[in-house]
């Protein structure tokens, strides 16, 4: 690993941290603009002004905004996300299990969808403009165009109710064996895969086709390589950066955008938790979820940038 690469990577990470700080300011400011205050919400309409005042002082609500922001940020950095208003529970401990569940679901959806998307993209390039290419593209676009709640219910009806292969409600609990857990999430994973597949596949196809115009692809062809060898050995390595970019965007969607799918399958993840607390106007929980989603998004994009930097031979092996 050479110095220019290290420098660029360090720059990207520093940028990501700055970005997250900016996001945290926005999230904090956003909740400040909302009407009503936390003390009022906790004590309810019938609270006496004295009680409100006492609680405000205890919670530090009379401090200036920047002090409260720093307190909040300090808490987050030490793992304290605050207390949920509706239940009075510690947010961090109730989030932990759910975040893990969401990541578990996203992980398996990624394991299925990324190789499938790239593989189909490669196949589409191999048979470009032919029947296979059009079939892959058509099916991919169709699956993306259908909203996930629709495909979700469709799968529930056919696979869960009629065929009874997998459960329609994805209940998971602590200490559940892996096999059962996987069976429980099979349907949501399928829905998520169908949603993200086409985007990644089309981008893979476009990125590789772009590289296929290069003179070195002709060189490979004139060496006698078969079309598939040309694509995998010569075109794909040069198309990694754009492909990783779109893969990471979709991974971020798998974590951040699972709200609807989790609700459909009643899956105890972050999305379900977020939706529940939005309904109860529980601001600290929404703040915490927002920040975690932002962190996932920013770090996945940093990873994409780092892969792009590292996969560039000019940066990796300077003159």
């Amino acid at each position: 690993m050479s110095t220019p690469v290290l420098k660029l990577v360090a720059q990207r990470i520093a940028m990501g941290i700055l970005l997250l700080l900016a996001v945290s300011v926005l999230i904090f400011a956003g909740t400040q603009i909302l009407p009503g205050d936390v003390a009022q919400s906790i004590l309810g309409q019938s609270a006496t002004p004295q009680a409100l005042e006492n609680l405000r002082r205890d919670m530090g609500l009379n401090d200036p905004a920047y002090i409260r922001y720093l307190h909040w940020l300090g808490g987050i950095l030490t793992g304290d996300l605050g207390t949920a208003l509706s239940s009075g529970q510690d947010i961090a401990s109730s989030l932990k299990g759910r975040l893990w569940n969401t990541l578990f679901l996203a992980f398996w959806a990624a394991i299925v969808s990324i190789p499938l998307a790239i593989g189909l993209g490669l196949l589409a390039v191999r048979y470009r403009n032919g029947f296979v290419d059009k079939l892959i593209s058509g099916l991919g676009l169709a699956s993306t165009s259908l909203p996930e709640f629709f495909t979700g219910y469709l799968l529930i009806y056919f696979v869960a109710v009629r065929l009874q292969w997998f459960p329609s409600v994805s209940t998971v609990y602590e200490g559940m064996p892996l096999g059962e857990r996987l069976s429980a999430i099979a349907l949501p994973v399928t829905v998520l895969t169908l949603v993200v597949l086409a985007h990644m596949m089309r981008m893979t196809r476009a990125a590789i086709l772009n590289v296929m115009q290069s003179a070195y692809v002709e060189t490979a062809e004139l060496k006698g390589l078969s079309p598939l060898q040309i694509i995998t050995r010569h075109a794909f390595p040069n198309a990694i950066a754009p492909i990783v970019n779109v893969v990471m965007l979709n991974l971020a969607f798998l974590v951040v955008g699972v709200v609807v799918v989790e609700v459909i399958f009643v899956y105890p993840g972050m999305g379900q938790y977020l939706v529940d607390h939005v309904a109860k106007r529980d601001v600290p929980v929404v703040q915490a979820c927002g920040l975690i989603f932002a962190a996932v998004y920013v770090s996945l994009n940093i990873i994409a940038d780092i892969v792009a930097i590292v996969s560039n031979p000019r940066l990796r092996h300077p003159k």
């Binding site: 004139l222 060496k223 390589l225």
Partner: protein, 553 residues
Amino acid sequence: MVKAPLKDKTGLLLDIRNLRIEATSYPPGEPPRNIIIVDDVSVKLERGKVLGLIGESGAGKSTIGLSSMGYGRGGVRITGGEVLLNGRDILKGGAKILRQIRGREVCYVAQSAAAAFNPARKLMDQVIEAALLHKICTKAEAEKRAVGLFKKLGLPNPETFGQRFPHQVSGGQLQRAMTAMALCSEPDLIVFDEPTTALDVTTQIDVLASIKDAIRDTNVAALYITHDLAVVAQVADDILVLRHGKQVEYGDTQQIIKAPRQAYTKQLVSVHHIPHEQKSPADKPILSVRNITAAYGGGLVKVLKNVSVDIHLGQTLAVVGESGSGKSTLARVITGLLPPMEGAITFEGRTLSARLANRTRDDLRELQMIYQMADTAMNPRQTVGTIIGRPLEFYFGMGGKERDKRVAELLEKMEMGKNFAGCYPAELSGGQKQRVCIARALAAKPKLIICDEVTSALDPLVADGILKLLLNLQKDENVAYLFITHDLATVKSISDSIAVMYRGEVVRYGPKSDVLKPPFDDYTDLLLSSVPEMELGWLETAMKTRRMASAGN
């Protein structure tokens, strides 16, 4: 398929009979039509022999070369004739047979090795790929062979050269590496497609010499494609002259260059003989560059060091040197695109502002530029009339009929005819595009035109036409040229004075007759001795007698 049993040193290797190649063209606004790229061309090549294919662009020489591998670039179709390689017709076998031939019996060396190597993979992996693919030898043997070829082709550190990535070595080295790649699978035939055209003149001679040695020592047969007759004369046993996809003349090298029979071949042989009387400098130069030092990256990389030259009205100063010598940077400084760190430029007695933004409109008008790539120097969405009319509007406030009349006059001067005013750049040939750019520069009625490699991208005969036109215009308009080029033949034909640049410095400067008169400094000697001459055995003599090894190695 087994490799053809004939492996003796003689006998017919390649026999192309009545080849016909077509493509479909899609002209804008018209129905697609079939065009014939190669028409009834026959080629015979014996083992170990070199055949030169020569002609201007569009002559079909690359297409014929690639047909020996059964390959049609950009959708061209082989529609007639036979290509017999090692005694069998390769066009009849289908894709699988072709894959067995490519990289094993026939290998290809491209014009731009820089683009033809995969940037993401090490050179060694790419050099031995075909040998491994066709199971010619084991990986260890192939690598050993590759190292031997790197050594033979004069590459630095042959043992570790293969561990580098394409961007880590120079253009000349990549071209040799590509030759090594072609030789690695010990093919019967190599197709060299303009392998030295993209290189500097001083590098070209080295690469040419190593290709020639490699061909001799490995006894491989070759098709050598180029537009430069002097280059092909150094390596080929026979030469086939092509034009518009048809055979013009076919003969041995000696006969083609010494006793050409066809008019077109005679033209090719006599290219670069433009009569030009050298003018002596006037008392006062029109443009004077004084002690210019310029750098990129905030003074980090000095590209020009203490450069001083004068240009006189109605005369041509040629600035010569290889890539990286700073000649284009000099143009950027004069035009104000790159303010120098030190030094001044005076134009007609007044000192020009260093920055483009501070120059008056007259300063801009009197100093025009023409570029190497006429393609990219014009807006593809504007018509020729708009392109040439723009300086007329901008500098002289012309409009309507007056402007159209002047555009027509300028086109007339370019020997193009006023009908071209309605055309778009894409409808013009390379030479015509460059003429439009000249007309645009001339429209501003400049006193000095900077010509940056304006003929480098053109075929020799077309380039000659452009040079003649520039000289005529100089006579009529009394305009001065700063002519930047790496081509010494051009310099000899058109310049009045010459500045030789090497690594940012002017190493030799003066009237043409003085600069081209011995004794030479080492660099000028290298430059001059590197220009291919249409003589058999020139290459060997030049390699023996030159005093300094070329850069880029």
